[in-house]
Symmetry: C2
Subunit: 387 residues, 2 copies
């Protein structure tokens, strides 16, 4: 194979941006088809994409066309697992948008099907291309920070006005998105939270506030506390209601602390690891000598979406290792599912998650919903720089 | 009255520093007596204080001497309320060290007695003299920040080694101190947390970890989540086990956010208050214009302990308003009591606190304790710059 022939399912906000990238910026990739169930999006494709790009009104037509090698799934979240499973069954490589799905029960089925194929399976975790988080992961995985003791991510700069929510009736509903800030805005941070430190919590206690700042039926403000197997604790604090908000990720370990904020990474490194200092020190008051280290990090935020498209294409063509294997999408989703479940039951949630209970309670919310956003207008928004 | 004649009860770590201040640095104050039940501390007083300073082995002898106008109580925490009540009954003005006590039930009794006198009652909340927190309070109380939405204090730079805990057998025990990091290290932050924002939570959910980093029987690591009546949420994260730790207090309001960290205060101020922006904006993605404002704050940390001693002295002599009225000591203590209770019951704690239940559970811990610190050596530590 010399080029990967891509079909995109869903050419709304994100999908149409991927289409333009695949057309011109990804070596070894060829956009041969797009698919959308909305007439106006196919009209957009007709007007804006080369004639050679086939247009389909249903995924089945696209799958049956046999004109593609790989499919990029950029539909509403609920459909990611079902479409991915179908695509694998047709023998296509699959790249899904984040989140992996809405509930882990479906995502696990998708992962099981993927595991039975030799096809490539990726997820659009474009923030994994960000040199800041790559360096953070490096410092942790190579032991520079030592054993992790605390993680604390304040990610409250996802400001969204009511106007944003009114731009689509499916937005911020249980039936449409299956959640709010955790499902739409936070999937990258939920992934990076576990990817950089290399561990998942063992239990979660979360506090989700529904429609606190906006007229929506899902959460727009969350505080989640977690405990890890090794005794470490963690916090994840997020909202779409605050401006300007904060994006600050602090991680403490035996050898000091790291803070990622304002596009910089700072490492306060102890000269002696804290446990050793504590064992040897006899002076009453006193603490380990600490050096504030400037860690070099490549600027610019990395290749982002295009980096994932390049990596996925190279994985198919040259067996390049995937930066964001699709199977790993379940981790971030498990975290958000656990946060909802903890909030709904007003109690601890242990991991592995009770995925059947979660699905049952989610479906209750979907089925009992009477919520309608007033004056909802369906719009494809310009998402430049927002995801 | 031209000078206030002070007696100090307890001349250990803090009390002996106050003695030296009163001797030479507080206009209108005169140190006339000290009291300590420990012979070695009276010997220290004999060797280091002027002969004119009387020495007493019991508070009763000091009270009966009738040689003083005011008493400064700098004993172990449990004794603050009982000694204060006794001092009021003798007709003395009372300044207590922090915390106000160990459990609010006793502190409320102290407050009730104080309310029945015309005597001055103060608490050594020296951090209230810090211009940073005074400015923060000013910006909030004058409405510059708008309605509060979130408070988040990461106060993890209270590093204490095992050597510190071994310096006194009473340290970090239920019977000796009645708690750990919340009772010994955090009383200032717990006070400032509510004093600067001007409100107390309505409920608390906290996670206290006992002896996580040190061989102690009380907590050395706490994460507490709170909810306020106005819908705001808050976090308080603290430990003695981390180095170098963090001291970062972030407060979000309708008009932006303030961060106090590294001895600076930064105000990200929205040009238009967020609720107004949200009501008027129709553009989908978009957020209020934000100005990062450099707020002038006097440097140097304020007069600290000496500022409280001066203010208390002037309150007696010239009726100067108290910066830290003793009655307000109950607020910070209520917060820590509620955190323990939430953790012990693994559940929410509503405020006002069930103070009888708290007292009962605390006494169970005191009475069932079999804990002994190995190699405990009683030492008076040099506390310069640590409280």
């Amino acid at each position: 194979m010399e080029t990967v022939r891509y079909g995109i399912i869903g050419i709304g906000n994100m999908g149409h941006a991927h289409a333009l990238s695949l057309l011109s910026e990804i070596k070894g990739a060829e956009l041969v088809a797009v698919c959308d169930t909305r007439t106006e999006r196919l009209e957009w494709a007709e007007a804006n994409l080369p004639e050679s790009v086939q247009r389909y009104a249903t995924p089945t037509e696209l799958f049956e066309s046999k004109s593609i090698d790989a499919v990029l799934i950029s539909t509403p979240h609920y459909d990611h697992p079902t479409l991915a499973i179908e695509a694998f069954q047709y023998g296509y490589h699959v790249l899904i948008e984040k989140p992996a799905g809405v509930y882990t029960k479906a995502v696990k089925e998708m992962n099981d099907v993927a595991a039975q194929t030799d096809l490539k399976f990726g997820i659009m975790y474009n923030q994994r291309t960000n040199p800041l988080y790559q360096k953070l992961r490096d410092l942790i995985q190579t032991g520079e920070l030592g054993e992790i003791r605390r993680t604390n991510w304040i990610i409250t700069n996802w400001y969204r006005s009511q106007s944003y929510y009114n731009s689509g009736g499916w937005r911020a509903t249980w039936a449409g998105e299956g959640g709010g800030v955790l499902l739409n805005q936070d999937p990258h941070q939920l992934d990076l939270w576990q990817w950089t430190i290399g561990m998942m919590p063992k239990r979660v206690r979360a506090f989700c506030h529904i429609g606190k700042y906006r007229n929506i039926e899902v959460e727009d403000d969350v505080t989640a506390y977690v405990e890890y197997e090794n005794g470490a604790t963690g916090l994840f604090i997020t909202t779409t209601g605050e401006a300007p908000g904060t994006n600050r990720f602090e991680i403490t370990g035996d050898n000091g602390k790291i803070v990622v904020e304002d596009d910089t990474l700072s490492f306060w490194r102890l000269r002696t690891p804290e446990p050793q200092f504590n064992a040897e020190f006899t002076g009453g008051f006193g603490s380990p000598e600490c050096w504030k280290c400037e860690i070099p990090v490549e600027s610019g935020g990395g290749q982002q979406h295009k980096g994932i498209l390049r990596n996925f294409t190279n994985a198919i063509l040259h067996n390049e290792p995937l930066l964001a294997p699709g199977e790993e999408g379940i981790h971030g989703l498990t975290l958000s599912n656990a946060m909802y479940l903890s909030s709904w039951t007003d109690n601890w949630v242990d991991l592995p998650l009770n995925e059947d209970l979660y699905y049952e309670l989610l479906m209750e919310k979907v089925n009992s919903s009477t919520f309608q956003i007033e004056n909802a207008v369906s719009k494809t928004l310009d998402v430049t720089g927002t995801h």
